[in-house]
């Protein structure tokens, strides 16, 4: 027994000690006890630590003598590791961490599909009742919709944004208010106005007063109560758009208002699936439920169906592939950095080749040399990591803040324990990878060839090959990265350039405001308020067109309604649908939308005038196909307090896009005075004013006309485009930045290798120049070699780029993943850069003095 333990303990000691004293120690083993074995083990580890400490102090002393080398390597590592740390912290928080809710893996969002409609429809209250009654796989379900209220505090209106939810929302997600209680079924009764507010609202608007619970407060002109306060930082999910962020409040979804009509679909829903069921099973069950409902309610449901998707997928939206793409890019950069540092280390250690070869011939093991290399590389990697973590922190704080806002849970990204652990793992892997090249070339050379080469400056060919191979790897990875970022940049440009069909600048639009129905209970009162506001907006100095409308291009509001053309018969459930909008006179003029035929909406189109409508070209082309649009009458759905009615088409306008991604859809425009909406925005075009000035004037107009409504924020159309393209721009910018870094490191690698090789071959060049070789011959030789290496790198890089481009296809808008222009441009760019990087050393080769070169012969 002692025999075996002793052998194991001996293994802990350094090899040198073991080989010299192992046998002697074993000779005394018959007299040994367990404490002797322990003594041996402890001493062995101690000796190893001592060796390590000696190695570290040796390496530090060596490195201090080469501050420039240390700075370059540490900086290269800092870029590679820093980029990794920053992106990993994003990946971890946004993609890897589970949602911050109870048993979040079993949470799903309920999706609806309607084959007749373009944009994904929502759910109605009866839909949710049906799911509750008919699905066994969904154990809990809660309807949700975005909501807003105006809170009156000390006579000042404060606009709050929140969610109206069914009370089940609290239990489903496991949300426990820090103060007061959650919403209950009793809070959904008509006439009850109870709210749970966020910690931030509680602090900002109520001075963190704990006695606020159950006190009467004015919400939207009605008396309401605050029954609870959410925990600080509580993230609330809205399954409609997958947003997960703090909200100002949670209100109860009214049970009966708006009417429980099957077709009143404005809700989205989250649900919990039974622990025993899978998503596939749930969807199979929902397909059956949908089929049953389609038969039961052909009027509403003939083309309508339900499905579920994991809530995680809904929340992530398109973010996961973007973050993974950027993560792959930073791994690429780290590999390039390792290859480059490997080359630099290789060159640095090659100076000592003879010493090592000699040491080894005298019995030193490769391992002891490798240990020195690993320690030196490890110190450099650690220094790089510390610097890199600092860079990552600054990056996340600086430009990152803006980029992170476009990602779900982006505000929660920080450099936490998991990130630091990742950084440590990266340091280990980086050390091993970077030390691999010098170690391999060390083993590839033997004493004999080394001594022969001594003093003659011939670069061992094995070493040169391994260095060239590393440069090929760097070029390949850099090329792939530049191509992927090039595709992203093109995609962003295409998206940002998407013609919306409206005037590109000078238009200021407002956020949506809603009229409190307690103050404006009738259509007439709303119409009057809107006319007054409109009058004031038109009178603003410099304004040449002002209008009110429910939606405008990129407003995020799209209301789809069934419609039909008078005199045409539709089988039940096949009526076409179109995007409806209520607009005032001046809307098309303000946006610069051309009138194609007929007339514009005018101020005379009041409630007392005949019902009219303007349609866009897409409507005329598809729904009115084959008819004279200006003689058609179409059915306008009842909405917002109006009833369904027939209206004459009096004008056709050019198409506009509602979103950047979708082509123009059929749209109709109802005069605002004939269907005054509860919520609306302003659209104003002015000349000779800055957007900020115009925006302030619009806000002042709202404040004076509607003193009980918080004035809306204003934006330019360019702001809206920037908002919609923020995520794509962020990805393009980030990848562009990373690709530039990758390219620079790779070019430094090319420069280093060519430079080294020119120095090594200076004797050869001297001889050739002495024999009459011209400048162009020498220059050509060096450049040809560089370009040959580059060509191999480009060829392998194209293969990597093709794979990478295929992986990101889903993120490209109107750009082919194999876009020939991008590929060709980048290949030319890489060759140019490679030639440029080798130009200086090549010129140096032509200036070799034959006398100097031959002196050493």
């Amino acid at each position: 027994m002692i025999h075996y333990l002793l052998r194991i303990a001996l293994l802990l000691a350094p090899r040198e000690f073991r080989s010299y004293y192992g046998e002697q120690i074993a000779a005394g083993e018959c007299d040994m006890h367990l404490n002797d074995v322990l003594d041996l083990a402890v001493t062995g580890i101690r000796m190893r630590l001592d060796d390590f400490a000696r190695g570290v102090s040796y390496a530090v002393r060596r490195l201090i003598k080469a501050p420039v080398f240390v700075a370059i390597v540490a900086l290269t590592f800092a870029l590679g590791i820093g980029a990794n740390v920053a992106v990993f912290s994003v990946l971890n928080t946004v993609v890897l961490k589970p949602l911050p809710y109870n048993n979040s893996a079993m949470l799903v969002s309920v999706r609806a599909a309607d084959s007749r409609r373009m944009s994904p429809p929502a759910l109605s209250l009866p839909d949710i009742d049906d799911l509750r009654a008919q699905s066994h796989a969904l154990t809990e379900i809660a309807g949700v919709t975005a909501d807003e209220v105006t809170l009156l505090r000390g006579g000042r209106p404060i606009s709050l944004g929140g969610l109206a939810v069914m009370p089940e929302y609290f239990d489903l997600l496991g949300i426990r208010p820090q103060l007061g209680r959650a919403l209950t079924v009793a809070d959904s009764r008509p006439g009850v106005n109870n709210y749970v507010i966020s910690d931030a609202t509680w602090r900002a608007d109520f001075g963190a007063d704990p006695s606020i619970i159950d006190r009467a407060v004015t919400f939207d002109g009605r008396t309401g109560r605050i029954v609870g306060v959410l925990a600080p930082g509580q993230l609330l999910v809205n399954p409609r758009d997958g947003s997960i962020e703090p909200q100002d409040y949670l209100g109860a979804l009214p049970e009966t208002l708006p009417p429980r009509a099957r077709g009143a679909r404005y809700l989205s829903a989250i649900a919990r699936i039974a622990p025993s069921s899978s998503l596939t099973e749930v969807n199979a069950e929902l397909a059956l439920v949908s089929a049953r409902l389609q038969k039961l309610y052909p009027r509403y449901d003939s083309t309508f169906s339900f499905s579920v998707q994991s809530l995680r997928t809904t929340v992530l939206g398109g973010a996961a592939p973007i973050v993974w793409t950027v993560f792959a890019a930073v791994i690429g950069i780290l590999l390039i950095a390792c290859a480059n540092v490997g080359n630099m280390l290789s060159a640095r250690w090659s100076v000592r080749d003879r010493e090592f070869a000699l040491r080894r011939s005298l019995g030193a093991t490769s391992w002891s040399v490798a240990q020195l290399m690993l320690i030196e590389t490890g110190i450099l990697a650690l220094a790089g990591a510390l610097l890199g973590i600092g860079l990552a922190y600054a990056a996340l704080r600086g430009i990152g803040g803006y980029a992170l806002a476009t990602l779900p849970r982006g505000s929660a990204v920080s450099i936490d324990a998991a990130t630091l652990l990742y950084a440590l793992a990266i340091v280990v892997v980086t050390t091993l990878l970077a030390a691999l090249a010098p170690f391999m070339s060390l083993n590839a050379t033997d004493l004999n060839s080394m001594l022969k080469a001594a003093g003659r400056g011939g670069d061992a060919s094995a070493r040169h090959r391994s260095r060239a191979a590393l440069v090929v790897l760097e070029i390949a990875l850099a090329l792939a990265l530049v191509i992927v970022s090039g595709l992203m940049v093109r995609s962003f440009i295409e998206l940002a350039r998407t013609p919306l069909g409206i005037r590109p600048s000078g238009v200021v639009v407002s956020d949506i405001v809603s009229l409190p129905d307690a103050r404006f209970p009738t259509l007439q009162s709303r119409a009057a308020a809107q006319q007054q506001l409109l009058g004031r907006l038109r009178a603003l100095p410099g304004v040449d067109a002002a209008a009110l409308s429910v939606a405008y291009p990129l407003s995020d509001i799209s209301l789809n309604f069934d419609t039909s053309v008078l005199g045409k018969n539709y089988p039940q459930g096949t009526e076409p649908s179109a995007a409806g909008n209520d607009v005032s006179a001046g809307y098309f003029r303000a946006l610069g939308v051309a009138l194609i035929a007929g007339r514009d909406i005018s101020d005379d189109d009041t409630a007392r005038a005949p019902a009219v409508v303007v349609v866009n070209q897409a409507f005329a082309r598809t729904i009115l196909a084959g008819r004279d649009p200006l003689r058609a009458k179409i059915r306008i759905a009842g909405w917002n307090g109006t009833i369904a009615h027939w209206a004459s088409v009096v004008g056709v306008v050019a198409d506009t896009r509602l979103t950047l991604a979708e082509a123009p859809v059929p749209q109709y425009f109802v005069p605002i005075a004939q269907a005054p909406p509860i919520f609306f925005s302003a659209v104003v075009h002015a000349t000779g004013l800055t957007a900020a000035t115009l925006g302030r004037q619009i806000q002042d107009a709202f404040a004076s006309e509607l003193p009980t409504v918080a004035p809306p924020q204003t934006f330019t159309v360019e702001d809206r485009v920037a908002l919609r393209t923020a995520r794509v721009r962020m990805t393009a910018t980030l990848l562009g930045l990373l690709a530039t870094v990758a390219l620079l490191i790779a070019l430094a690698g090319i420069f280093g290798v060519v430079s080294f090789s020119v120095t090594q071959r200076s004797r050869e060049f001297g001889v050739r120049i002495a024999l009459g070789a011209g400048t162009s011959a020498i220059l050509g030789d060096v450049l040809r070699r560089t370009l040959a290496t580059t060509a191999i790198g480009v060829a392998s890089g194209l293969a990597i780029a093709a794979l990478a481009a295929r992986a990101i296809t889903s993120q490209l808008n109107s750009v082919s993943p194999f876009d020939p222009a991008t590929f060709a441009t980048v290949v030319v760019l890489i060759f140019l850069c490679a030639a440029l990087a080798s130009l200086q050393p090549a010129l140096r080769a032509t200036r070799v003095q034959p006398v100097d070169a031959l002196r050493y012969e």
């Binding site: 000691a13 002697q24 000779a27 005394g28 002797d36 322990l38 003594d39 041996l40 402890v42 001493t43």
Partner: protein, 118 residues
Amino acid sequence: METAGDPRAFLPLSPSAFYILLALAAEERHGYSIAKEVEDATSGTVHLGPGTLYRLIKQMVTDGWIVEVDRVDSEDPRRRYYRLTPWGRRIARAEAERLADAVRTAMERRLLSASAFA
């Protein structure tokens, strides 16, 4: 390898190191026999484990306090013998003098009586 100068620069020695030097003061010994001798001389109160012993031996050989001698053990050819160098002997003597000084002080302060040496 420092073999000149003031041996007091290396004091105090660790007890283990001092006992090893003591064991080698009389005769050449192999490692295992050093451990045995130390244990006997201290009536079993000082036990040198193999790790401690050979680490110190290695260090002392490197520093020139002891040398390995060419002598084959008839019992076990794996054993190697060590001898004190003159430099090692000076260091051992210096440590013994340091300890003797300490003992003298202890007697003056009546911590120890002369009968302890009886």
